[in-house]
């Protein structure tokens, strides 16, 4: 061993050179696209850029205009409604399905395959399929009316007040399978002794889930929440395919607002301001999560 110390130590920059060269794409992606791109967009959201980005700073003008535009306010309201219900229903349905599948049933693989297949489909396919099912003249509404209930009304995609719930139906169909899978993995990780102990103590099945199992699955629920939340903010193609923001502008969402202003309305500044608001909402969600995940671990 001592003989090797005679060899000249290479300068630290060139040590591990192949690994550094091989990591150039990763470094460029991290620094140029993720950090650089994000910073660039935030900076240019304070400019009056129209067709082309121009460094003509106008302070918070774009944000003031953003928050006084009806289309943006509708987008935010839709995102809030969609987000709230999507969060609750995805967690409840995902967990319930996982719990049902965890009861040592026959044909578990078949059920799991059926619940998860929508997740393999794109949002465009999902949106178009549900657009057809919810078609007022030929879809569910007409089928129920045909069975004799003439006054039955279920036409969410053409009713500005409830169109977002029509999108929610499609979104839940597509996304609940993923959460079910994560929950099922979490349930499988729970020690069977807990169930035995609960039975010995005479605690009922539902009560065992609510009082013992769910609190034990806290990390799984947090992962699921983060996944659902980041999916909600990204919602774009589903709306484009299913309603294209209509009727009128009643099903617009923030991600669509950004794309419209950047690439259709040729108002880059508005697009940058709106996308910075999206970034801000992610930061608001992520910081408490990162604190819980990483801050908590160090303390413990």
């Amino acid at each position: 061993m001592s003989s090797s110390t005679k060899a000249r130590r290479p300068s630290s920059l060139f040590r591990n050179l192949s690994a550094k060269l091989a990591s150039i794409p990763m470094v460029l992606t991290a620094l140029v696209v993720f950090v650089g791109g994000t910073a660039w967009t935030v900076v240019y959201s304070f400019t009056s850029s129209k067709l082309l980005p121009k460094a003509n700073f106008v302070g918070l003008d774009q944000y003031e205009r953003l928050w006084s535009t009806r289309r943006w306010l509708i987008s935010i309201e839709n995102l809030a409604v969609y987000g709230f219900f999507s969060m609750i229903f995805t967690l409840v349905i995902g967990f319930t399905l996982a719990a049902l599948l965890d009861r040592k049933i026959r044909g578990e693989d078949v059920f799991r395959t059926i619940f998860l297949y929508p997740f393999a489909l794109s949002f465009v396919v999902t949106g178009l399929a549900w657009q057809w099912i919810l078609n007022p003249d030929l879809g569910v509404q007409s089928v129920v009316r045909g069975m004799g209930w003439e006054s039955f009304t279920f036409n969410p995609l053409n009713d500005p007040d409830i169109v977002i719930y029509g999108i929610l139906i499609a979104g839940l169909w597509q996304g609940t399978g993923l959460i079910m899978c994560i929950m099922l993995a979490g349930l499988r990780g729970i020690d069977q002794e807990i169930w035995k102990a609960a039975r010995v103590d005479g605690i009922g099945t539902v009560k065992t889930y609510v009082r013992i199992i769910i609190p034990m699955m806290r990390p799984v629920f947090i992962t699921a929440l983060v996944l659902i939340a980041s999916g909600i903010i990204k919602i774009y193609d589903l709306v484009v395919a299913q309603t294209n923001g209509g009727p009128g502008i009643s099903s617009e969402v923030p991600a669509k607002y950004v794309i419209n202003y950047m690439f259709r309305a040729q108002n880059l500044g508005q697009g940058f301001a709106a996308s910075t608001m999206m970034l801000l909402s992610v930061v608001i969600i992520l910081i408490p999560w990162a604190y819980l995940e990483f801050g908590g671990k160090k303390r413990g």
Binding site: S18, A19, A22, S23, P25, M26, V27, T29, A30, V33, F34, V35, G37, T38, W40, T41, L101, R103, I105, D109, R112, T113, I114, Y117, P118, L121, S122, V124, V125, L128, A129, W132, I133, N135, L138, G139, V140, S142, V143, G177, L178, C181, I182, A185, T223, A224, S230, Y236, A241, P254, A255, V258, I259, G271, A274, S275, M278, L279, V282, L286
Partner: protein
Amino acid sequence: MADAVTPRGPKPRPRFSRTNIMLYGTLIVVAAYYALPLYVMIVTSLKGMPEIRIGNIFAPPVEVTYQPWVKAWAEACTGINCEGLSRGFWNSVQILIPSVILSIAIASVNGYALANWKFKGSEVFFTILIVGAFIPYQVMIYPIVIILREMGLYGNIWGLVLVHTVFGMPILTLLFRNYFTSVPEELFKAARVDGAGFWGIYFRIMLPMSLPIFVVAIILQVTGIWNDFLFGVIYTKPADYPMTVQLNNIVNSVQGVKEYNVNMAATLLTGLVPLIIYFASGKLFVRGIAAGAVKG
């Protein structure tokens, strides 16, 4: 000795107990609900338009016709262009193959470097990458337009390939890093003693050992890239639009009479590739999404 007569073990559950009926009943109803849209798409795509106008969307076709499928593939129109979805399909294939190869090649090397050849700052870049996965795409879309324009790749299939490589990098790097970290270190050390370098160990030891994780990565990328809509619409020209974008343009075009059977055939054709992968890969697909969900 009376004990010997009483049966041991837990009381067997009767097969048709109330709980069991409730349990299976609920599961079957929910499964029917999840399966319904696929069923409706299939039956609609096999009916003629007159039958659709008078009939029930849940009813099986009285007269099966494959005409809608032929029309969706070869004749459906987007604007003045009537070549059908086949063009979108081949565009998607042309985008898919290089994107999958490039993104997995780069991410697997990243993961390998991060797991076995840590250098100063490597963890920092990795953290940025993972945090970056949570940034909404809308924030980075325009700076990427500028970068691609400077490189002369904007509106070109190769520009889109690069975009897929960049946005697939966080999750794939995480996947490979976690896998390579679990490879026994003795193996790596032994290869080092034998004089193998960075690339030698990667190609001779790591690559042959980690075929399952490559399969998981391929499944993840093929479905993800095939289903992409946003990047396709922004970074390519109409002639190069991927299948999802062309599908949306065909179905949601405002011109002409709506042909629901052709629309559903087109929708199914677009969904076919990920569906086949999903049904064929089974547990590996689940492993792929689980790897995406559970952070290292």
